[in-house]
């Protein structure tokens, strides 16, 4: 009975929501295949899949997190119910993260089965390829939406972070003070010594932002009612 909410939330997310991370991985994998047919080395082609997990899925998760904070047409009604909105919000985040985690684990296993590795570390540590940016983007997405009271504004900042991290990846790799914020370290600097530390720091950042979002929602649950028109 306690999982009844899960069925309703799954119906709410819908097929499009569930398919999004899968389609992103398929899309980036097809890029990898295309690169192979154009004579690119297997290692570089595998990086397309890494990019799909680390850059594509994580960005989508951030946008979805920004969306699920605000996009509830029942928000006003929900705030009047016994179940707190932050509980529902946390459940939705958990559902999204859980499903994305399944896709992430599945992808690392498939890549290993076909004889490649996403990163030069153990299979367990390879999960950090997707987990770290996923946690960070999700936390940032949720917190930005609350800060800006605008889903679109949050999406714009996430997009800005994305493009800057992508374009200035050399600076992020070269400056030690930027290492904790290097979201795409596997795609661009997988073999660097700071990789593991970077992953753990990103997860910590994500947890911090997620916790701040929940605390904010707890202190002022009606903050979402007066968002930008």
């Amino acid at each position: 009975m306690k999982l009844d909410w899960l069925l309703y939330e799954l119906r709410r997310v819908g097929l499009v929501g569930l398919l999004t991370p899968v389609l992103i991985i398929l899309f980036f994998s097809s890029f990898g295949l295309l690169m192979r047919t154009n004579g690119v080395s297997p290692d570089r082609a595998t990086r397309a899949v890494v990019a799909g997990l680390e850059i594509g899925v994580a960005t989508a998760a951030g946008l979805i997190a920004a969306t699920i904070v605000t996009s509830d047409s029942l928000l006003e009604l929900h705030l009047s119910l016994m179940t707190r909105y932050r509980t529902t919000f946390a459940r939705r985040l958990a559902l999204m993260l859980g499903w994305t985690a399944l896709v992430g684990i599945g992808t690392t296993l498939v890549v290993r089965l076909i004889g490649h590795e996403l990163a030069p570390v153990s299979l367990l540590a390879q999960q950090l390829v997707w987990l770290a940016p996923l946690a960070c983007f999700t936390g940032v997405g949720a917190l930005l939406t609350l800060l800006l009271r605008s889903r679109t504004g949050a999406a714009a900042v996430l997009a800005g972070i994305w493009i800057i991290e992508t374009l200035l990846h050399e600076s992020f790799g070269a400056s030690s003070w930027l290492h904790p914020f290097f979201l795409f370290a596997t795609t661009y600097s997988a073999s660097e010594s700071f990789w593991l530390g970077n992953r753990l720091e990103l997860i910590a950042l994500g947890l911090l932002f997620g916790a701040l979002s929940l605390i904010w929602l707890k202190r002022n649950p009606s903050i979402l009612l007066g968002g930008e028109g």
Binding site: V16, T20, F31, L34, M35, N38, G39, V40, R44, G56, T59, A60, L63, I64, A66, T67, L148, R149, S150, R151, T152, G153, A154, A155, A156, V157, A159, G160, I161, W162, I163, I164, T166, L167, L168, S171, E228, G229
Partner: protein, 261 residues
């Protein structure tokens, strides 16, 4: 009373501009992103003093155009769905003003407003250059570079960001737009993936920068040829024509969709 195209277009532009300009998030999001842009190497205060002014100005324009249109495009994506969310189409559709004027007004007004913070950020760099080099020519040159390099790209991005959410869920469009921006502007052919990043259809403005401001465009045409004035003009024309075509098709689609109701 006259139910002309132009008064409705100007009226819609004026009010869409005001509404978008009043959104705090366009200012906060653009300025937050620009803070990260300033950490880059091609800012006005990072050039050596023997670099020519036209190179400084054009490269600063290209740097702004590499990063900030992504925020610009994402911020514009909710303009058309917002009307639906606010239950406005029923009221607006009962008015005699042509729907094409309203769409064009939404495009020009909201694009202009969203470009304002970008212009301020860009122009602050230009003013810095003018003072730093004691050369007031930086200001007209900066304006010319903004018009030639940034404006066509922004108008191109705005057209797609306004109209695509008519058929795509906004978060999905925003995600695809972010991916497109990297693929279509910044991913060189060396990656082994087909890309339009070195073609005239690159809104980042590499060809305009190369064509009108000499060597400045080399970076953003990914090592391709430096580009002539004609190529620069061709790129601008192609971007503007694509924007106009996108708006025209969207208008036809929305009219058709409305007629089907």
């Amino acid at each position: 009373m006259m139910h002309g195209i132009w008064p409705a277009l100007f009226g819609a532009t004026r009010y869409e501009f005001r509404m978008q300009l009043r959104r705090k998030s366009i200012w906060i999001a653009t300025f937050l992103t620009s803070l990260l842009v300033f950490t880059g190497l091609r800012n006005p205060w990072n050039f050596r003093h023997d670099t020519t002014l036209s190179v400084v100005v054009a490269q600063w324009a290209v740097v702004c155009n590499a990063f900030l249109p992504i925020v610009f495009g994402v911020l514009l994506a909710d303009r058309l769905p917002r009307d639906r969310r606010l239950h406005l189409p029923e009221l607006l559709d009962a008015l005699p003003a042509p729907s094409g004027s309203r769409l064009a007004g939404k495009y020009f007004g909201s694009a202009l407003a969203t470009a304002m913070p970008i212009f301020f950020i860009y122009f602050s760099g230009i003013i810095y250059s003018a003072f730093d080099r004691h050369d007031p020519v930086a200001i007209p040159l900066g304006l010319a570079a903004f018009l030639a390099i940034n404006v066509p790209g922004l108008l191109f991005v705005a057209a797609f960001s306004i109209v695509m959410p008519a058929i795509l869920w906004v978060p999905l469009y925003q995600f695809l737009f972010v991916g497109y921006w990297f693929w279509g502007n910044l991913l060189g052919p060396a990656y082994g993936i087909p890309t339009i990043s070195t073609t005239w259809l690159t809104p980042i403005g590499g060809f305009a920068a190369a064509g009108f401001f000499s060597q400045a465009g080399e970076i953003m045409t990914m090592g391709g040829d430096a580009g002539s004035v004609w190529q620069g003009a061709g790129s601008i024309a192609l971007l503007l024509a694509s924007a106009a075509l996108a708006l025209f098709i969207a208008q036809r689609y929305l009219t058709w969709q409305h007629a089907r109701q």
